[in-house]
């Protein structure tokens, strides 16, 4: 009888063991995060930390994988929906589902091997990356945008790998002071950004591919790309033109000893 990972055995004879021991956090379980959860459950990741403080609404049904009309009627937590998806695909996986803001349980992230960030705000992404960097955890960020250009629209997005010792989201120009300032100015403004399922799916799949290149590389000549850009109109995916720079850059935003670990660590000492 074939086992569940027979068709992905090219990932290495110990890939099942590696994946079942892996601890992955997915923060934000909307259009992007719900796709990632589903794929990681299929792949055989053994330990999940899933975090989202939102409950599903009717406007999420156009893209939230696993969400149903019944979930909308009972305002189900997105984290509970994601946990259900995991359980149905891989009942052996262990899942911690947090229905609170990730910042309230940030200490849970410290024992993860990889963190996926699938959150809308630039400030949230910057803070999540800081936690990942502080504990030497690779962080994979996905972002998607629909831009209005007169009567037309363009769909763009990117997947960024923020690896300790290498370029961060600031080096990649994804987090910029003017974007943070603009967001702060609009703080509290209602109305969600346009989001659709297929670019979410493309970006989520790329992000899962980046993770798989890190944990079970299947080709020794190809390294994970730090920044992949997606043009949903052409459609086209390509490594950022700055890839050479990003691979070589000595990140100046993180790197001092003070940037690592608990901001305060130690025993109370009485002499």
């Amino acid at each position: 009888m074939m086992n569940r990972s027979e068709r992905q055995s090219f990932l290495g004879e110990d890939s099942d063991t590696i994946l079942s021991a892996l601890r992955v956090a997915i923060v934000g379980l909307g259009g992007g995060g719900s796709h990632i959860v589903q794929q990681l459950a299929h792949i055989g990741v053994g330990h999940f930390l899933i975090m989202d403080h939102d409950q599903i609404e009717a406007s999420n049904l156009n893209r939230l994988v696993g969400g149903t009309a019944a979930d909308v009627r009972r305002s189900e937590w997105k984290a509970a929906i994601a946990a259900r998806v995991i359980r149905r695909v891989n009942p052996r996986a262990k899942t911690i589902a947090e229905c609170t803001r990730w910042e309230e349980r940030a200490e849970l992230l410290r024992s993860c091997d990889i963190i996926f960030g699938c959150i809308d705000s630039f400030s949230g992404r910057a803070e999540l990356e800081t936690v990942a960097r502080r504990y030497l955890i690779p962080y994979i960020d996905i972002g998607m945008d629909v831009h209005e250009q007169g009567a037309r629209f363009s769909i763009t997005g990117q997947v960024a790998l923020s690896m300790p010792g290498y370029a961060c989201l600031r080096c990649m120009n994804i987090i910029r002071p003017e974007l943070l300032a603009e967001e702060a100015r609009k703080y509290g403004a209602s109305g969600g950004k346009p989001q659709v399922v297929w670019p979410n799916g493309v970006l989520a799949s790329l992000a899962v591919g980046v993770m798989m290149q890190l944990v079970t590389p299947w080709h020794d000549e190809h390294q994970p790309v730090h920044l992949l850009e997606y043009d949903g109109n052409v459609p086209e995916i390509h490594p950022a033109s700055s890839t050479g720079f990003l691979t070589a850059v000595d990140c100046s935003h993180y790197g001092s000893a003070a940037d690592l670990g608990n901001p305060w660590y130690g025993r109370l000492v009485h002499r």
Binding site: Y135, L136, P138, G165, G261
Partner: protein, 169 residues
């Protein structure tokens, strides 16, 4: 309490590269790895390796009983590092073989003598000893000068690829 070490592939490669350089008379080399710390659930600790500092050529002492013997100036510089940067110190050396390195009797005896001294400069931080091999590493951690060391139960080498050594259960 379980202890987990995270170290980047680049830092590990730098340490290995330094520790395999020949010395004029010492048979092996020694360095110090500066670490920060995080607390995880259940009182577990994650050690975060930040940087590696080689012992300078002139700070070795000629003594044929040891593979490498380092003098007080090497320790003074290491203590200064721990004091100035608020880091834990991990004495680091290499066993030139493949597979999981285990401490020798001399390693056990000597580290038990000098690692507790690291607490004189950074009392509240853990300190320890790392042993690298050509393709693996292991370590022990002292959480106080009075307590015996604990083994690092699980190590993650952060890079491409990510590699996990030991058991996290």
């Amino acid at each position: 309490m379980k202890i987990h070490l995270r170290i980047t592939r680049e830092l590990l490669a730098n340490a290995r590269s330094d520790l395999t350089r020949p010395h004029a008379f010492a048979h092996e080399r020694v360095g110090f790895t500066a670490c920060k710390f995080g607390s995880v659930q259940n009182g577990d600790i994650v050690i975060l390796a930040h940087s590696y500092y080689p012992v300078a050529d002139e700070d070795y002492i000629r003594d044929s009983r040891y593979g490498a013997l380092i003098g007080s100036e090497a320790f003074r510089k290491a203590f200064q590092l721990a004091y100035s940067n608020n880091v834990g110190l991990f004495h680091t050396h290499l066993h030139p073989h493949q597979g999981l390195p285990r401490p020798s009797r001399i390693d056990l005896r000597e580290t038990a003598k000098f690692v507790p001294d690291f607490f004189n400069v950074r009392l509240a931080l853990p300190h320890g000893a790392l042993i690298l091999s050509r393709d693996s590493l292991s370590g022990r951690v002292w959480t106080s000068a009075q307590m015996p060391p604990k083994p690092i139960s699980h190590i993650t080498i952060v890079g491409a690829p990510i590699e996990t050594l030991g058991c996290r259960k």
